[in-house]
Symmetry: C2
Subunit: 357 residues, 2 copies
Amino acid sequence: MSRPRNDNFLRALFREPTDFTPVWLMRQAGRYLPEYCETRKRAGSFLKLCKSPAMACEVALQPLARYDLDAAILFSDILTVPDAMGLGLYFTEGEGPKFERPLREEWAIRDLSVPDPYDHLRYVMDGVSEIRRALGNSVPLIGFSGSPYTLACYMVEGGSSSDYRRVKTMIYDRPDLMHRILSVTADAVCAYLNAQIESGAQAVMIFDSWGGGLSAAAYQEFSLQYMQRIVSGLIKKKDGERIPSIVFTKGGGLWLESIAGIGCDAVGLDWTIDLGEARRRVGHQVTLQGNLDPNVLFAAPEIIAVEAKKILDSYGPGDSGHVFNLGHGISQFTPPEHVAVLVETVHDYSKNLRIKI
Amino acid sequence: MSRPRNDNFLRALFREPTDFTPVWLMRQAGRYLPEYCETRKRAGSFLKLCKSPAMACEVALQPLARYDLDAAILFSDILTVPDAMGLGLYFTEGEGPKFERPLREEWAIRDLSVPDPYDHLRYVMDGVSEIRRALGNSVPLIGFSGSPYTLACYMVEGGSSSDYRRVKTMIYDRPDLMHRILSVTADAVCAYLNAQIESGAQAVMIFDSWGGGLSAAAYQEFSLQYMQRIVSGLIKKKDGERIPSIVFTKGGGLWLESIAGIGCDAVGLDWTIDLGEARRRVGHQVTLQGNLDPNVLFAAPEIIAVEAKKILDSYGPGDSGHVFNLGHGISQFTPPEHVAVLVETVHDYSKNLRIKI
């Protein structure tokens, strides 16, 4: 096995020189694409789409057929791990994910155990292999998981929450129970990501969607600590190639130095931090991934180009260490043709920047 | 006129020595108090409660009857200004505030004008006078308003939003229109706060609930700039006493230095920033207000005490420059007896800290 033909994404993560700034978009296989909506309709439900390796592969490849993206990402849900732990994931129209059996009793928390990723999560591994096969030698495939804290939020709340009251109450009142949940979940996520790597993922990303809602001290203890444990336990090399890891805490800009210190190769950034400032703070240590406000994609094409160039200018000179992305998942209301403008601008403008150096 | 008997809140804002760390809570007059729910029921609706100076006064004083709080705050809604601008504020059960006539057309934006606070907002000024009279010489009264950007979010979206898609689209696509909205709204807020000061408010606070969702650059241009304009235009002295101002951008921790630089006396902090770190960054320049996670109030009383002490310890030695508060409004589900524990702990522990110095 060797690197894909377009390995700029991997090179950026390894801080090797790149030909241009690589770009991919969080949630790039999603509802803004009519072909995605069609496949989803055919699948019958979002969960059935996730659980069918063939259809998950189909939608994972759709954005790459349209745009010159530099990486593919596994199509799956972030809540597959707690589902495999027996909590019973389901979706209701307009309300997002829910669990049939949220963690409300001490015995249920004590009973938690690490699921075998090749058993209950077989469909994910089959999806990874199938996408990897379909990609051939074109671009790298990213595997992913939710962070232990983010998963715990759903596991304890039973679904989305506006205030995370239950999970915060447990953090402050019963930190022992919260640590038990996080500990088992961290081990489960680590095994899950390693199985994805064994199945063909060439990089992995941990999505910490809700860690940014914690206090500075609680973030270290209840989110970052467990992401560090996962990163330490990840397979570092496969078939002679290093497997890089990306950690993304939405709203984590204040804690950048400590995130960059957990041993990951790259840190994802939302749009609230200036990319140049982030580079000055931690860019010597990790690659930075981000950080355009996804709402920019609602503006006119010429504005999208201007804002994309601002991000590249803010990162500044250099031929590596930056992966362009949005600061959050792409909105379902995004006009698909606007994404083409973004991807082209990132490639063209960053190529020109490299010539100038 | 002279300062109230308990002027520790004002002294903390002026960086004069205090006897203990003063404490008040955002949304301290609210649904967690059964007596508030009773008055609200009697009023018939939240809006009627806001618009009745007598009942607004009644609920503003309720938390002070229960707890030894060091400041009262005007009871009102943050959306009174756009309502007075003709947008038609209304509330629907469970969905929060909405506007009958959101800003969707260019002509409507061009037509906006600054409302006379003594005309359409007379009920607010009457409320301020009435609360001030009822407080007698006990503790200071805080007036407040939403920030121009936060008001604009509601004015453009027509209500709450999960992604601020409309307002962001306007920012990127038609910044001229957004600046027009913000400019008129900033002048309206300034006149509104000055009228509150003339009516008896002894300090004012600007709540920027949604500025934290902007990119670093957009925050400066579309939120902070207009708060600076307001702060510059505020009445600085009334009856020989300085009137201090507090600016609070939820999620603004990354931009602390620039917020502290706009001329306000204090900066409000949410719980995501370590208070000690905030003090090191800007504590020489402004007073800091905050920053306990409101969810701590769901924990057992002894845990609440521990967490409150952590905040005071994090701020560190010194006899001024800190006003204790939550990092966000108190939750409606908070057990009222837990608030008593918090207030007592802040007073007792900070008194002891001062003795030790």
